[in-house]
């Protein structure tokens, strides 16, 4: 009887500990989620026009164009524009309808 009682206490205690561990993991999940949102915002800031202009002027020494020269070439233009692919607007159908903009951004980073 005493063993049965002890077993019950151990089980309850174990369940309670597991429950609190689950809560801890849920909190970790929230923490990581917040971190992901913050990193997305950081990516967006790094890609902002103000930063791009600052880097272009300060680091690369670029200046605004004063004269425009148009060249006509017989070679066909590239099919895709040379911009970071993660900023492409999705033209796909149902397969990507549930992908939000930040998932589209992250998917196309080389290490993701």
């Amino acid at each position: 009887m005493a063993l049965l009682g002890l077993l019950q206490v151990i089980q309850t205690s174990d369940a309670t500990s597991t429950g609190y561990a689950i809560r801890g993991l849920e909190q970790q999940r929230l923490d990581w989620s917040a971190k992901v949102h913050r990193l997305e915002a950081e990516v967006a800031t790094l890609a902002s026009l103000e930063r791009v202009e600052r880097e272009a002027k300060d680091r690369l020494g670029l200046v605004p164009a004063e004269k425009v020269i148009y060249l006509e070439s017989a070679v066909a233009p590239p099919r895709q524009q040379l911009v970071p692919r993660r900023f492409y607007v999705s033209d796909s159908g149902a397969g990507e309808t549930d992908t939000s903009w930040w998932q589209a951004l992250l998917k196309l980073l080389p290490f993701y």
């Binding site: 369940a15 309670t16 597991t18 429950g19 609190y20 689950i22 809560r23 929230l30 923490d31 989620s33 917040a34 971190k35 949102h37 913050r38 997305e40 915002a41 967006a44 800031t45 890609a47 902002s48 026009l49 103000e50 425009v68 020269i69 148009y70 060249l71 006509e72 900023f87 492409y88 607007v89 309808t97 549930d98 992908t99 939000s100 903009w101 930040w102 589209a104 951004l105």
Partner: protein, 580 residues
């Protein structure tokens, strides 16, 4: 002996009765509590053991047409301190010293705020970023209450402030697109019921019910952030240069009605928005759609379109300009008081002759004139989806208070009122083969329910395609037929019209104050971009041709190159290089 055994003591009976009474009372009380008032006490117990929590959904992002985020959401915390828990001054100072650096407040300010009232909660921080909030929560300070929250973040800074708008503390949109698209962006809050312990924390494996929140959808606009930035910087520059009171620039694709950029001043700065103090709500409105003005000579394009479409004139039809016209006892002159003799319809537009516009209106007649205005979308909202949009004001000939002189003044854009968006949309119909398009700013909404894309809407065929082509050609002559026109763009054929309006005030007009405007599109034969520039009350020069047209001349080359629009006015020079 048998007599003594059957005798029951009265004391025993009393005791038995007492016990029985107690038992009955107990049972009765149990019946009272557990049966008769079961529901009440069950509810009390549920309130004691169960907590309800509303889970805020993540607000959707607002993106530009290429997917660059203009507004996103970051996780945050709202922190409060229970004043009663911080009554011990030495401890309170110690705790305040721990949190002060994390909430960017001084220790004395925190302590003063707590001492301000005897009880209740002191708001320590609202929208505090997540990591700092967690640090404070993990410090385990007594009396600290943390509510998960969120805050809006703008990666492009103040770009498109009065277009994007802002949200309030309750995360409900209060102005701009944040308010107009509240339903799409907000999502649906979740509900959570759970058994809690004495500390208020959920009991593991306890009763847990609820529905998860549904996040808001991401909204992709037709706005291009690069074009928006070009436009805003130039608008700010021009307002400063001319000491103007404000202005508006709109860039649109005339083929679809998609708004590529929309900037208005005065405006506010999203990065420094503080609603707690005195704020001027006028700064929050999107003047491109809320404010009306008298379009002035730009309206001559619409008047001309009506006359051409009715077959009354063509580009070479002539009339005689005596320098003035008398209507209903009023004498109306040209804007420069010039007298030009015989003029063609094209020259009428080139020289922006008021007398010519009145001649056209007389040919058209009042009924057809106002019908023509309505076909071009005046006197009705353009249904762009932007909040606070004004319908404009047109008093037609069958309305009370109309006089024949109104037809004359309306023909050159005075005495009627329209929003900048209405004006550019109307001229865009001329650029678009006569088709009036509904302007729009939302390209698509992507959310948990799927993807909703918005298609261009043809409102109506305002004038025939042939008439539109003819008027566009005349507008091209306005820019290229006038020497040194400041709206010319090297490499492109441009069509446009200037406007200079005197500002209306209660009781009349302020003759010393103008609105300088220009509407132009390029390439003239196959327009892919149309722009309206409106500068309000420039102090140094009143004229649209000298204030607004050069803005088009500055911005259009950059925008056309960015949009990869092939030049249509190039001369081949040596070496195979094409230079404008």
């Amino acid at each position: 002996m048998s007599g003594r055994a059957s005798r029951v003591s009265w004391r025993l009976i009393v005791l038995a009765l007492l016990f029985a009474g107690g038992a009955v009372g107990l049972v009765g009380r149990l019946v009272y509590l557990q049966i008769l008032h079961h529901d009440y006490y069950a509810q009390e117990a549920e309130q004691e053991h169960l907590s309800r929590q509303t889970v805020r959904p993540t607000r959707g992002a607002i993106l530009d047409r290429n997917g660059y985020p203009l507004a996103t959401t970051l996780d945050a915390y709202d922190l409060y301190i229970e004043r009663q828990a911080w009554q011990n001054k030495p401890s309170a100072r110690r705790w305040a010293e721990a949190v002060a650096p994390l909430v960017d407040q001084s220790v004395d300010d925190i302590l003063a705020g707590i001492a301000d009232e005897p009880s209740g909660d002191y708001t320590l921080a609202l929208g505090l970023d997540y990591e700092r909030g967690r640090s404070i929560i993990d410090a385990g300070l007594p009396g600290l209450k943390a509510v998960p929250s969120a805050r809006r973040f703008y990666p492009e800074g103040d770009l498109a402030s009065n277009l994007l708008g802002f949200i309030g503390r309750d995360h409900v949109g209060l102005a701009g697109l944040e308010a107009d698209l509240q339903e799409e962006l907000a999502g649906t809050p979740g509900d959570l019921y759970f058994e809690r312990d004495s500390l208020g924390d959920p009991i593991p494996f306890g009763d847990w019910r609820g529905k998860p929140p549904v996040p808001g959808g991401d909204v992709r606009l037709t706005i291009d952030r690069y074009v928006q930035r070009l436009v805003e910087e130039e608008l700010d520059r021009q307002i400063e240069k001319h000491a103007a009171s404000g202005g508006t620039i709109i860039v649109m694709d005339p083929r679809s009605g998609a708004i590529l950029a929309m900037a208005s001043r005065p405006s506010f700065r999203l990065s420094r928005l503080d609603l707690s103090g005195d704020v001027d709500p006028n700064l929050f409105r999107n003047r491109a759609v809320t404010d009306v003005y008298e379009p002035g000579s730009v309206m001559k394009v619409i008047t001309m379109s009506g006359a051409v479409d009715l077959g009354l004139v063509n580009a070479n039809t002539t009339y005689y300009d005596a320098g003035y016209v008398t209507v209903g006892g009023y004498t109306i002159t040209n804007w420069d008081f010039s007298t030009n003799g015989t003029q063609t319809a094209t020259e009428l537009l080139q020289k922006s002759l008021n007398t010519g516009a009145i001649w056209l209106a007389d040919l058209i007649g009042p009924d057809n004139f106002y019908a023509n205005l309505r076909r071009f979308g005046f006197d009705e909202p353009s249904n762009s989806g932007l909040g606070g949009e004004a319908a404009g004001l047109v008093r037609s000939s069958d309305e009370e208070g109309w006089y024949p002189v109104d037809l004359a003044t309306n023909s050159f854009g005075q005495g009627i009122a329209a929003t900048p968006l209405q004006v550019i949309t109307a001229v865009a119909a001329v650029a678009n083969g006569g088709k009036l398009m509904q302007p729009y700013i939302v390209e698509e909404v992507v959310g948990p329910q799927g993807r909703r894309a918005y298609e261009p809407v043809v409102v109506r065929q305002a004038i025939s395609e042939a008439s539109a082509r003819a008027v566009a050609q005349m507008m091209n002559e306005v820019v290229e037929g006038v020497p040194y026109h400041l709206a010319r763009v090297p490499g492109y054929h441009v069509a446009g019209k200037t406007g200079t309006t005197i500002v209306s005030i209660p009781g009349g007009y302020d003759l010393n104050s103008t609105i300088a405007s220009f509407v132009g599109f390029a390439p003239a034969a196959h327009p892919q971009m149309i722009m309206l520039v409106k500068i309000d009350q420039p102090q140094d020069d009143p004229l649209g041709g000298r204030v607004a047209a050069p803005v088009f001349g500055t911005l259009a080359p950059k925008i056309l190159a960015y949009l990869n629009v092939k030049p249509d006015a190039l001369e081949l020079v040596q070496g195979g290089t094409l230079e404008p």
